[in-house]
């Protein structure tokens, strides 16, 4: 028992800080693009998915406001984008288009999943966090986790609206839902693995 306590305390010590830094930042992989900080595969994947979600949201928003822009999508049968995007469920409280809500969500998600935001949270190997940036790290983790959980909840409502209430599926909306789900899964896994693990702390 005493040995187990000892081992626990060792995990929290400097030795474990080093190992957690390695675990938290498989960061050492290069992004391959000079202007991007290298942050690892998972953060990069969340950002690319976020960029896709943002692009699709922009397209859906344009199609909502510009009647000359038609979604490239079937308009017959179960796969029917227009039926979904012109349904009463396409407006929140009858005033706010879901497409605009999605756009706002993805603007935030792209920012918080950007390599720069991840880098704030996970300094490169050897980097150190000051006390204030430690708080920032926690804030970013929480904001990212809460936003994807809320986003996933809203996506579940939209799937309910499509499948049960409208009886039609919008492919473009579904592609955004899938992107949101993948981001949700990645963030939840990342948070589960890294939550509470000591970050490298600065002393100066």
């Amino acid at each position: 028992m005493a040995d187990r306590k000892a081992s626990t305390s060792r995990r929290s010590g400097p030795q474990s800080a080093r190992s957690s830094q390695q675990a938290a930042a498989p960061a050492a992989t290069k992004s391959g693009f000079g202007f991007l900080p290298s942050v690892g595969i998972l953060p990069l994947a969340t950002w690319l998915l976020s960029l896709y979600g943002l692009g699709a949201s922009i397209y859906l928003t344009i199609a909502h406001y510009d009647t000359h822009v038609l979604l490239v999508c079937s308009d017959k049968g179960v796969i029917n984008c227009a039926e979904v995007t012109t349904s009463s469920q396409s407006m929140v409280f009858g005033v706010l288009p879901v497409a605009v809500l999605g756009l706002a969500f993805y603007v935030f998600i792209v920012a918080i999943n950007s390599p720069w935001a991840w880098r704030l949270q996970r300094p490169a190997a050897g980097g150190q966090l000051s006390a204030w940036s430690g708080n920032l790290t926690t804030s970013i983790m929480w904001a990212r986790l809460i936003s994807v959980v809320v986003g996933m909840g809203f996506v579940l409502y939209l799937i309910y609206a499509e499948v049960i209430q409208i009886g039609a599926i919008c492919l473009w909306c579904t592609s955004v839902h899938v992107a949101t789900f993948l981001i949700f899964a990645l963030i939840v896994f990342d948070s589960s693995f890294n939550w509470g693990k000591p970050q490298p702390t600065g002393r100066g």
Partner: protein
């Protein structure tokens, strides 16, 4: 015994070492649980929704006879593809014209002007008006999943052949169409079952426009209520449901395509009237429809 003790100590140390080596793996498994659970919960909810939709009853008219899917598809095609020449020959026909409001803000949904219909499946006047509405709206977009039914057998003009907008879809690049079938067609006791509940905005529109000064006080709150962008209204059908009595859906559809038939003069005349009103709120789009002779003739009565 003396030699056994160091062996036991060694085994104990090895055991602790193994425990320490295993701990990260145990820790990883422990951390994996909430993540996997969260993802599984999401997947389970989506699967449950699909299963509920698949096993549950799809929106369809309640009890009573309705057309088979192939019949419905055939009749829908006939209705939404009434030849332009037929509609032009009928012109304004023999129908009650729509009422124009004046100085009212255009009703829109998103960026499109909106057509709002509020009615009930039991209602024979709604039964009549829907034929004209489908012919008219079919010129601006596409309907899906229309079901063919009869109005209530216990009301006036019993069992008038018609279709229902309940569970249907409509897409158009020019206009948004929002139908609300508020009640079913088979009475339960002394009332009809509720089908769709209008939104508060729709209720407010009906309260305002389905009442004087926009309609005679005798028609206040009547069905069907057809609001074309808050610019043109009709309460009640534009022709008598009696002309459709005892006909099958296919017979009605065939008659609508024959410009010489009395049914075409009424249904197509009403359709041209509705089309002309929709053209006003779409600012003449699409030109091919709005500049047709039949629509121009009907526009004179608006």
């Amino acid at each position: 015994m003396g030699e056994a003790e160091p062996v036991e100590r060694m085994n104990a140390r090895e055991g602790i070492g193994a425990l320490q080596a295993d701990e990260p793996r145990v820790e990883q498994r422990r951390r994996l649980v909430p993540a996997v659970a969260s993802v599984l919960v999401v997947v389970a909810i989506v699967i449950a929704l699909i299963v509920v939709k698949t096993l549950g009853s799809s929106p369809s008219p309640s009890a009573g006879a309705s057309a088979t899917t192939s019949q419905a598809s055939s009749v829908t095609s006939q209705l939404t593809g009434v030849p332009a020449r037929t509609l032009d020959l009928v012109g304004k026909g023999q129908t009650v014209p729509l009422r124009a409001t004046s100085g009212q803000k255009l009703l829109t949904f998103g960026a499109k002007p909106q057509v709002l219909y509020m009615g009930a499946e039991y209602c024979p006047y709604c039964a009549a008006e829907r034929w004209a509405m489908v012919v008219a709206l079919g010129r601006f977009g596409n309907f899906s999943n229309l079901q063919f039914i009869h109005s209530a057998s216990t009301d006036v003009y019993p069992s008038t052949p018609t279709l229902t907008f309940y569970g249907s879809g409509y897409t158009s690049k020019y206009v948004a169409f929002k139908p609300v079938e508020m009640y079913g067609r088979v009475a339960r006791g002394t009332s009809y079952p509720k089908l769709e509940i209008p939104t508060s905005a729709e209720t407010a529109i009906m309260a305002k426009y389905d009442a004087p000064p926009f309609v005679p006080s005798a028609d206040r709150g009547g069905f069907p209520f057809l609001d074309i962008g808050n610019q043109y209204l009709t309460v009640g059908s534009q022709f008598s449901p009696g002309i459709l009595a005892k006909l099958t859906w296919s017979e009605v559809a065939a008659a609508i395509r024959n410009p010489a038939s009395p049914i075409a003069k009424q249904v197509d005349g009403a359709a041209n009237s509705i089309t002309a009103a929709i053209c006003k709120i779409t600012k003449g789009a699409p030109a091919a429809v709005c500049s047709s002779a039949g629509v121009k003739a009907a526009a004179g009565d608006l």
